[in-house]
């Protein structure tokens, strides 16, 4: 049998799918908080293309030929694999497929948005992109994208991550990215924080402020984000469109589709094209969004206006949120520790189109190990959440006898996050937090 379904380079999608065109009700707009004008800042910090796409309402947006070409050169389309050995191990009648975003050179789906963001910046005459990174996957992807498009790249990495994950800095350096531990001496904001506390270990909020400050003070510099915002979701839809073609080739209709959610971009990318069918009334597929129990945004957060960052630099976004001052316990799935959620996904969850579930830390690592022992690939800590939910669904099928088709978005590999697994084996990992 064929264990993998590959598409040729030419089958990279020609358009991104924009779910704004199909949402069941109007997406609430970002707002300024009282007496401040964060929207103006945002407009200055991002490229024009990103802002246009953020609020675009056309259903499909053409992927520039150069971006398609780069997607191809970086190996897209990614393969779809059948987890036959895992099925056998679980003794389930269910069929389990996984879409392999780990095959991206940087090891996750993040490059899908980094490439177009760098492309549009280059086109607008920008010379340098800035961003912040926590877990490191986004900074890595942006560093490579900037190398591909001949841009400079500055990454503010939360100081505690910077010190704990030297390999993340190393790989960004290979791609030519410049990485600073944040708070840094580069920016006014960083210097202010350091003046108050020279030993500050940093936070994502501070890193965002530093990266944005550079963009606000310099016309040749723009700021980028790797998740949460609509234009990032849009770019990621290449995943789901390829997946549609691949499932057609496999002659499968998915019963259950699963992705982990941090800011929402891999979930959106892989599932929006299928959620469209449900919005159109043509599908019964169940869409499961998996979050860590340590950061239960969709399951325990409130659907309300909140800041996108912890410092109140961004406009208010209507989304599920645990509060912008929520600090998630330090779990190994660094990419899933965000207090908020993409506004589109929040709306879809609120309207009942998405099933959010949580998973405990020890349980997801256990699922990741089970997966690796059967299928070979070691999943990223974020990805193990989707795998845990997939295994749970497959076990349910064993109990009910249903031959469901389960599709997991395999968002990334764990080669640069093996310490989390070591912590699991040490027995010192707390379960939920």
């Amino acid at each position: 049998m064929n264990y993998k379904i590959e598409l040729s380079s030419e089958e990279v999608p020609k358009k991104w799918y924009n779910i704004n065109a199909d949402l069941p009700c109007e997406l609430p707009m970002p707002k300024n908080s009282e007496g401040r004008n964060q929207i103006e800042d945002l407009q200055k910090a991002f490229t024009k293309a990103a802002l246009d796409q953020e609020f675009a309402t056309e259903r499909y947006i053409k992927i520039p030929q150069k971006v398609r070409e780069l997607y191809m050169q970086m190996g897209r389309p990614t393969p779809l694999f059948r987890a036959k050995r895992l099925e056998e191990k679980l003794n389930t009648p269910a069929k389990i497929y996984y879409k392999r975003e780990d095959t991206s050179p940087t090891g996750s789906h993040k490059l899908n948005s980094a490439i177009p963001q760098a492309y549009f910046a280059k086109k607008e005459g920008v010379e340098r992109l800035t961003t912040e990174t926590g877990a490191g996957q986004w900074g890595t992807a942006l560093s490579l994208a900037c190398s591909l498009l001949d841009l400079d790249c500055t990454v503010y990495m939360v100081k505690v991550s910077f010190n704990q994950k030297p390999d993340r800095k190393n790989i960004m350096n290979i791609y030519g990215g410049e990485v600073f531990a944040s708070p840094s001496e580069n920016t006014e904001f960083g210097r202010k924080v350091l003046a108050e506390n020279p030993d500050h270990v940093g936070s994502l909020g501070i890193a965002i402020s530093e990266a944005m400050e550079e963009a606000l003070n310099n016309d040749n510099v723009k700021y980028t984000l790797g998740s949460v915002l609509n234009h990032v979701m849009l770019h990621q839809t290449v995943i789901g469109q390829e997946l549609k073609t691949q499932l057609e080739i496999a002659n499968e209709e998915p019963d259950t589709m699963i992705a982990c959610v941090g800011g929402g971009s891999n979930f959106a990318g892989a599932l929006y094209p299928f959620i469209k069918d449900k919005l159109d009334g043509n599908s019964d597929t169940k869409f499961i969004a998996v979050e860590p129990s340590a950061c239960p945004t969709l399951t325990e957060g409130k659907y309300e206006y909140d800041f996108g960052d912890s410092n109140g630099f961004t406009p208010l976004l209507k989304m599920y949120t645990l509060g912008h001052d929520f600090v998630a316990p330090s779990v190994h799935a660094g990419g899933l520790r965000y207090h908020g959620m993409c506004p589109q996904i929040s709306l879809l969850a609120h309207e009942g189109y998405i099933n959010p579930v949580t998973a405990h830390q020890r349980d997801v690592f256990n699922a990741g190990i089970q997966f690796a022992k059967c299928e070979g690939i070691v999943p990223a800590p974020e990805t193990t959440h989707a795998i845990k939910a997939g295994i749970d669904e497959a076990i349910k099928c064993r109990q009910t006898g249903e031959e469901k088709t389960i599709v997991i978005n395999f968002s990334g590999h764990g080669m640069l996050d093996l310490k989390g697994y070591a912590n699991y084996f040490s027995g010192e990992m707390p379960n939920s937090k």
Copy 2:
């Protein structure tokens, strides 16, 4: 254009190619050293299948269906990529292709031999496999193969590597491999070494002795090797056979084929099926074997009988060797620090069928970075040697105007070896040694 050439699962080769059938002269047999009987030990330590294959003379050996199935489930065939961006960067008329063995779940070609070795052991009723590992790629592959075939796995890892590369231990643990820092307290040999020097940092020779001792003392335990021997080369020929099909699809005749050489297995695997054509008088392809200038086995070694290990436990093998007591300087390409070379490759080099070249450490990392910035994938330190030679060949084509087709075997990715790159950036890396 199509940047990658993929084959379906069903196109995994059905046979391994055995170059013993086509060598230009008879391969000298292993010998005992005076007054000792290492051949008998070898016979006891290895599986029967491995020994049979070692001396087999049939041209093709059937791949058991279960092994083919596992190759497929682990993602074979691997893709062939065109390095179009690198070509453009080098401004060369040459076409550069690379065969992506890094797409194996363990990140290198090593799984191609680990799977059949584990399969045959299982078939012979073995319960546990032992091995040694230096750089860690082979131990990782064997750990996964043992998980796939439900065998226990014990890896003796040279203590200094064990301490420097915790992630290698972590990934082997994920697959269920048990990893000991060698010298260990598990074996008589290890205890003897520790009694003399409790702080001994270990060596590959000691680790081999420990792993072999376990196999010699226990009928349910067998010893395995990840390179140098003929049966390992045999298993790796799935690479080259796939590559033949892929180059046919691309409508290309390779002018130059390149692989790095440690013990020789990725070179043999990717190139033997093409070397066959040359032996048959049907090809002019140039075959380049790249070694580090710090360990110049083929370029500066002698072609003579020598021990396979540093302690004289193995029989004498006729091969290029720097002397079994040669200790290569500690370069980052740990997999290329072996004093000897596969006897088949040695013979072919001696007879002029292979062009060996050396490369300096700083130059190969520089080539690796150039590659990563164009093509995205970060190569393993071993693999950068092949890339360096490929870039040199492409630059020659720029000078001569020749539109050569250059094919590089991309033996593995560098995600677990990023420290080497950091060392390069620090400016502290010596060039050759």
